[in-house]
């Protein structure tokens, strides 16, 4: 179902101070910036944006959107005072002092009708709730990867996006960048029909038992946790960026799938896109226990309905010799084909720009589907989520895509989702 409405002209609202509500300052002076020029649309034609989650990735996303002349950035939201202030300062530097409102609670930002679109870069446990709320508020969304934390979230997010006619882009910019060396030969047909893949996903997330530390005054801990189980504040629980073995929130199961889904969104993203699996989900995940002599570690195989097997962390000793039709990527990816000629396909490009950010903005304006459209992102994330599940259960599972449930597997179906802490409801 396509939804075909163009955003109406926006009235540029000037604020005289960083306030929580947009107010028209009096008198309103039309600045030269508001009128636009040869490279910058007039303010009334710009996409009005806000950001939710302005930490490491969020600040990078914000910088990219601030640099786009089609964007008028007006609001930031973060539960940490320092990141709110820094994000606000970046906007003020671009648009002038007092240009940016700050919020702690994302619902207040989403409640602003002057905002057309938001970018979201909170920890993963917030992604689904915020995306669905933003869809209901009529916003378009740029959502950092991994787009989902559980298997149940993806279909609900897609329902909301399609129901309300929203543009929702996932944030895997690496598919068309780092992974071109596998995308191009696959799409050119050089490998023929793809037959099998080996990929090296990182570790899954784990439980967190860090001790309680006094909560500093500059973080809203209740809102940081949100729907996740209450656990005491500890900087090791919520700080850090990419630590997999306990170095950051990405290590912990309540907030993330671990490096498995974090880097997995990129590795699976590039691989699945290259191999033409973006419209598919695995039909089963097969668990291969470690060999009894201890020489081969356990691994899993995701079986796709078109016959492609994606082996995850398969020991090299168990891999066959690569056929001639093989491409590799230094991040541990090997894609094999049957070598029979298949017609080449042109690799889709970002729309209206050279980056995934520009692609999103162009799609907000034209109402086209973005490069990392939500359906493709959810299909992609199904792979690492399913892998994480079989790692946890240490056995195989079978997936019913239509029902979005595991077949005859009550135990696996208990892992589709998790209870959210009140008052949050999906």
């Amino acid at each position: 179902m396509t939804h075909d409405f163009a955003p109406s002209r926006r009235r540029f609202l000037a604020t005289s101070a960083a306030t929580a509500t947009a107010a028209v300052a009096a008198p309103y002076v039309i600045t030269s910036k508001a009128l636009g020029d040869a490279t910058t649309p007039p303010a009334s034609d710009r996409i009005v944006m806000g950001g939710i989650g302005l930490g490491n990735m969020g600040s990078g996303d914000q910088r990219a959107f601030l640099a786009d002349p089609r964007v008028q950035y007006v609001a930031v939201c973060d539960v940490r005072e320092k990141w709110r202030a820094e994000a606000r300062d970046r906007v003020d530097e671009k648009h002038g002092a007092g240009s940016c409102a700050t919020y702690v609670d994302f619902r207040e930002l989403l409640g602003r009708d002057d905002i057309d679109a938001v970018h979201i870069a909170t920890p993963d446990h917030w992604h689904a709730l915020m995306t669905i709320a933003a869809c209901r508020a009529g916003k378009d969304i740029y959502l950092q990867k991994p787009e989902t934390l559980t298997l149940r979230e993806g279909p609900l997010m897609i329902q909301a996006a399609r129901r309300y006619g929203r543009v929702v882009s996932g944030g895997s910019q690496r598919v068309l960048e780092d992974y071109r060396r596998i995308v191009d030969p696959c799409w050119a047909g050089e490998l023929g029909r793809i037959t099998s893949i080996d990929i090296e996903p990182g570790p899954s997330s784990m439980a967190c038992y860090l001790p309680a530390v006094a909560t500093p005054p500059d973080i809203d801990w209740e809102l940081w946790l949100g729907p996740a189980p209450w656990e005491p504040y500890n900087p090791g629980r919520c700080d850090g960026n990419y630590g997999a073995g306990g170095g950051s929130w990405r290590s912990y199961i309540d907030y993330s799938g671990g490096s498995l889904t974090d880097w997995g969104a990129h590795n699976f993203g590039g691989t699945i896109f290259a191999a033409g699996l973006l419209d598919l989900q695995p039909v089963k995940a097969v668990w291969h226990p470690a060999s009894s002599d201890g020489k081969a570690a356990a691994y899993a195989t995701l079986v796709y309905p078109n016959g492609v097997d994606v082996h995850c962390n398969r020991p090299k000793t168990l891999r066959p010799a690569d056929p001639a039709a093989t491409v590799t990527h230094e991040r541990g990816i090997t894609i094999r084909g049957d070598g029979n000629a298949v017609p080449p396909r042109p690799v889709p490009a970002y729309r209206g720009g050279v980056s995934i950010y520009g692609d999103f903005i162009e799609c907000v304006k034209t109402r086209q589907r973005p490069f990392r459209d939500l359906e493709g992102a959810v299909n992609t994330m199904t792979a690492p989520h399913m892998l994480g599940l079989v790692r946890r259960l240490e056995r195989s599972v079978e997936w019913d895509r239509a029902a979005q449930r595991f077949v005859n597997d009550e135990e696996a179906n208990r892992l589709l989702d998790r209870a959210r802490r009140e008052p949050w409801i999906l």
């Binding site: 209901r136 508020a137 006619g165 656990e231 209870a419 009140e422 409801i425």
Partner: protein, 248 residues
């Protein structure tokens, strides 16, 4: 000490004394036992009883939360009597739901519904959230009765009815008392969800009635982002009802 040398009994002794910041290595024995017990009823039942003793005993919040996480995976109706009393406790309620929400036994749903009857405020919203996730059709009358009450609870009840999305849920939403703001928005979102579910199930007439009602009402709303999004949803739904090849 390597967790391999710790017996399950010692693992549970460590769990009974566990708190955040303590050495978690002994818990690995329990983790492994939960994985290994799949398909073995007597082992699962033994573990379930042990976790129940932790939940119902004097262990720390951290220890009880660990036990609730495991009961989410292996709990049965047998765990409902020890989990249900925690639903009324503001500290323990969420983790009790963490387990109950995923226990498929009808007794778990019964416990959540019963707790909803007595709960207020955020605790009530917690029960509602879990009933929504269970798509608990039996809770529709109770949820419908909440639509005219406290606004936050009413909005949550509406959201839950939208997740359950049965014809009875749609009827309850259609009968919701007039509301404004977040409650009105939640009712509209839920009615759209019900209509989409009806359309997907092939009941075009019922879906069309909802889309028509919402499309007509949305014509009077301000031209806000939210208003436009609702109009898009309602009108797209109507179009889908007209064309049998199109689904939402």
């Amino acid at each position: 000490m390597s967790s391999d040398r710790i017996s399950l009994d010692d693992g549970f002794k460590a769990l009974a004394a566990f708190d955040w910041g303590a050495d978690a290595a002994p818990l690995a024995t329990i983790d492994a036992a939960v994985v290994a017990c799949h398909g073995q009823e007597s082992l699962t039942s033994d573990l379930e009883k042990r976790f129940g003793a932790i939940v119902g005993g004097k262990a720390s919040r951290a220890a009880k939360e660990y036990a609730c996480r495991k009961l989410a995976l292996i709990g049965t109706a047998a765990s409902v009597p020890v989990l249900a009393p925690l639903l009324a406790d503001p500290i323990e309620s969420h983790m009790a739901r963490f387990a109950l929400e995923r226990i498929p036994a009808p007794a778990a749903g019964d416990a959540l519904r019963q707790a909803l009857g007595a709960a207020r405020g955020d605790l009530a919203i917690g029960m509602i959230s879990s009933l929504a996730n269970r798509r608990d059709a039996a809770s529709v009358p109770a949820l419908g009765a909440l639509l005219g009450g406290d606004p936050k609870t009413a909005a949550a009840a509406a959201a839950a009815l939208g997740r359950i999305a049965t014809p009875e849920a749609a009827t309850a939403l259609a009968a919701a008392p007039p509301a404004a703001g977040p409650v009105a928005d939640a009712v509209i979102d839920a009615r759209l969800a019900c209509a989409d579910a009806m359309l997907a199930a092939g009941d075009r007439a019922a879906a069309k009635a909802i889309y028509q009602a919402l499309a007509a009402a949305s014509g009077a709303t301000p031209r806000t982002h939210r208003g436009r999004a609702v109009r898009v949803a309602a009108k797209s739904g109507l179009l889908a009802c007209l064309d049998e090849t199109v689904s939402p």
